[in-house]
Amino acid sequence: MRVLLAEDTPALAASLVQGLTEEGLTVDLSRDGEDALHQATEIPYDAIILDRMMPKLDGLTVLRRLRAQGRRTPVLLLTALGEVGDRVAGLDAGADDYLVKPFAFAELLARVRALLRREYGQTTNVVDLGPLQLDLGARVARVDGRPLELTAREFALLEVLALRPDTTWSRTALVERLYAEEIERDSNVIDVFVARLRKKLEAAGLPELIRTQRGAGYRFDAGSLGPGASR
């Protein structure tokens, strides 16, 4: 899952990037409105955390322009203004949620997860795919109730694939989901991760879950999990 954080206060931005990254999210940071708008236009984020007061372009303007471009990316607006009128203005501009500074990090995380779930049509943090269960909040995968030992990156990969079953992901698209912009991209890294993930799934009794589409990329094969697994 890749999110954009647009926040101009350096200390706050750094803490949030650290916290969100540690929770398995891929986070890009924008320090002003213009950059946020540019990034949000260039990259298909799963969610955007947008500070309301930013240099160059304020958060509301960024939000309105995004919506005017027809982008439906879920947006969580952060603001230090807590008045009712400000909340209404934010929601009217097309924000999906609204958080007033200062906020508890746990609450920010819960709300971001809620936005991501909604984006992927999930109602709870636990994704049930028959023998395979993914707890998106606790970042734990289980096969027949037994926890699967996965690294954060492996879990993130499995999450992306499992939430869009039977969708073919190109390596580039997967890299985009899993790596922030600053990190040098090498789509071969995906092959490495997929290979490790497959090995672990196979060991747990779930072979053939991730299929290779020759020349196209990878696909999560929900059918291989049995009839009860398709959502």
Binding site: A11, Q18, A80
Partner: protein
Amino acid sequence: MSLTARLLLLVLGLVALVLLGLGLYLGGAVAQWSLQAQDEELERRADAIAAAVKVERSGELELEDEAGEHEGGLPFRVETLEGVVLFQTGFDWPALGAERGAVTRQTRSGAELRIFSRPFVPEHAERLGDGQRELLLRVAAPTAALSALATRFRVGLAVALAAGLLLGGLGALVIARTFLAPVHRLSAEAATIEERSLSRRLTTVRLAPELGRLAGAFNAVLDRLEAAFGRQQQFVARASHSLRTPLASILAQAEVSLRRERSPEEYREALATIAQAAREAAALSTGLLALSRADASAAALQKEPVRLGELVEELRRLFGARLEAAGVALELDLDPSLVLAADRARLRELLEALLDNAITWTPRGGRVGVRSRVAGPEVELDVWDTGPGIPAEERPHLFERFFRGAAAAQHHAPGSGLGLAIVEAIAQAHGGSVAVADNPGGGAQLRVRLPA
């Protein structure tokens, strides 16, 4: 006394005064006119009777006319000039002397009479003998009819007075109500205007020009009040926003750090971040406090003679470490004898804010300075630096609360955006001002003018 009561009293007094004056004048006039009319009537009778009196050969008097007319008419008598009555109609005559013309007399029974006396020469006067030719004719009429008329007039006057007062009072009430209705409406409208509804205005349509001006003036006061209130609200919102930002940083860093075990190095970094944000919050609260102190009325200033040189020396010590760390030199050019009547603590805050600002924007190796100059009744205090200066487009906003220049926003320079606002508030409280200019040697120069 209410305006209505005053108007009522005024109208009633005027009505009473006018009616009484008119009544007195008319009463007098009517009495005089009716007397005149009666006198004329008496004279006419006298003429008629005089023309009808003949002297018989016997020397007796005879009325040529039909006697009935005279007997049924007014009583009269004829006498010699000496007072010997020759003829009289039966009547209770009062005692009369040599009166001529019209007089008023009372009879013995107390009735009032108007008596007209005139001498006349009767027909065949020569038959009177004794050489006398003239006789005296007296015609009388009771004045009872006249006094009845006067009484009726007085009653009528009293009724008119009462009616006048009643009508006048009612009229005054109606007028008062009509005139005061817009005033009542305005005060009812004004009563609904509260802190939360300062955008309401009095309706000025269909008002008399005088009231329109009053309502307009009131609305203008509301305009100013609303603007001031809006600025205050905006300031509170900005202050709260500015305080929330470092608090959000502190909370986020603390919570993220606590989510899992960290290395001592990571804890150290997190605590440094938290400390920095806490310092920002603390600086901001100090600034807000200084600003609210400076905003307090000028009367709250504790003015005393302040030797400027001493104060700046104090600041040189205070900023010593910081100047050294920033690699910036401080140059003082002060008149050592200069004494200002100022609040020492506030003036110190003012200089602190200016120096803080100057040092912040001066690159390593640069200089900042304080210069003083007496200019007529004022003292000019220049705080200058060799920093990048202040762009022309930012100068109009420089003293606004929470205003931060583009450079400060871009580089996340420390500062709350309150320093220069505090400087301006303190200068103004002292009856002075502050303005921005270019330092002749490059960089910015802020000039504070204070009354000496």
